[in-house]
């Protein structure tokens, strides 16, 4: 379910990774560990998972999706700028 276009086929969406990962702030001293956590390290847990997806064959907007990694069930979708509750 795209928050812009409504229900669409899974084929139209492309995966973009964990949505909870935050880029370290600009112009601040960043430790190597912080960069590692941003670039490489992932929790990747079983169960509910907030993810970025792109509606690549549709409106081409990036969206946030709450999905179960064990069952593939989708619970919630948000526009990219909306904060995860």
């Amino acid at each position: 379910m795209c928050p812009h276009c409504g229900m669409r086929s899974q084929n139209e969406f492309s995966y973009g990774g964990d949505a909870s990962v935050k880029r370290p702030e600009l112009n601040k001293e960043i430790s190597n560990q912080d960069w590692d956590n941003f670039v490489y390290n992932r929790k990747s847990l079983r169960g509910k998972h907030w993810e970025l997806w792109q509606h690549i064959s549709g409106c081409r907007q990036w969206i946030k999706v709450e999905r179960d990694t064990a069952t593939h069930e989708i619970f919630n979708t948000l526009k990219a700028y909306e904060e995860i509750l």
Partner: protein, 418 residues
Amino acid sequence: MQKYSIFNLVKNAFSNHQNWDLAWKDPTPKKEYDVVIIGGGGHGLATAYYLAKEHNITNVAIIEKGWIGGGNVGRNTTIIRSNYMHDDNALFSEFGMDLWRKMSQDLNYNVMFSPRGIINLAHSDAQMNVYARRGNSMRLNGIDAVLLNREQVREIIPMADFSENVRFPIFGGLMQPSAGTARHDAVAWGYARQADSMGVDIIQNCEVIGFDVSSGKINGVRTSRGDIKAKKIGLCVAGSTNILAEKLNMTLPIETHLLQACVSEPVKPVLDGVVTFGAGHFYISQSDKGEMVMGGDLDGYNSYAQRGNLPTLQHVLTEGIAMMPFLSKLKMLRTWGGIMDMSMDGSPIIDKTHIKGLYLNCGWCYGGFKATPASGWTFAHTIAQDRVHELNSGYSLNRFNTGHLLDEKGLGTKTWIS
């Protein structure tokens, strides 16, 4: 342990094969072991076997949540190869090839290793250049590699699409004649049987619930069948790595993804070796039963479901049909999925961790099966000696921190990069 031989086969025939020993026991977990290996897949079983054989450490338990060989070692496409360019990968894999060649004798178990060759197809001049470079690198590391032109490829796989005006014409290919396939279940069972006979306890239906860590040292593991003490614990759990890492408060450069494979109905022998499509991600071989065994890309999103979705399968098989049009006439017999521990650079991790006594073996991505013996051998060394062997020194955990990535093909978690 009874040796498997023609003599014993005949002898047991007289009692209708009712009196064979069990291949491995079903022990109750002891309170304490020298080493506990978590994960009874190919890599875990091989690790326990080499701990016993090479390092004389036999007070070892393998604990497995399900049953041995029920995960990725029973779900792969059985391809064995060492056609890598980077030294770290090439030397590690070629060491493994030697173990594969000796495995059936070594384990007294027919793993049906069949070195029938692998061809990576090239579809442009640029790709031929890349393959020439990779082939030369392989040869410098003592691995056999042959660069084939279009006609030479046609002689080996005439059923591929050599017609005019195709989107991805075949320019040639890179072949490793010594690559091949093996029977994956037999690998798990062979290692299990030998490890068991040397005193390793294989404990199935035993799930890890937590770890006992104090002042930076591992003391044991809590399981669904009671607490087990051990000064050394090895993690060999592939797609479940992230779940156990969370229990240890570690975040790793690993994501868990879904990879599908499928087989067609059995047909008469048509394809001798393994062939990969160079303009996408598709690989195919034919099993001894005649089924075409095929696989390709990840589904692309994090997943713990051991089943995939059809759009990815369709995408993968479209590539297959582009390469070998006759595949479109075959019926699909079975499809299945496994969960992969995808590392961020596409290469594995076999290393110590910041917790003393805890060792990590993960990140096998698409290539876990072929690495089974070399992974077990080097992981056993790392655990027994408490230091990394030269062969797995490139597979360190901190390479992501220091920038020494091993980006052989850049095939990590992001399918769209390839």
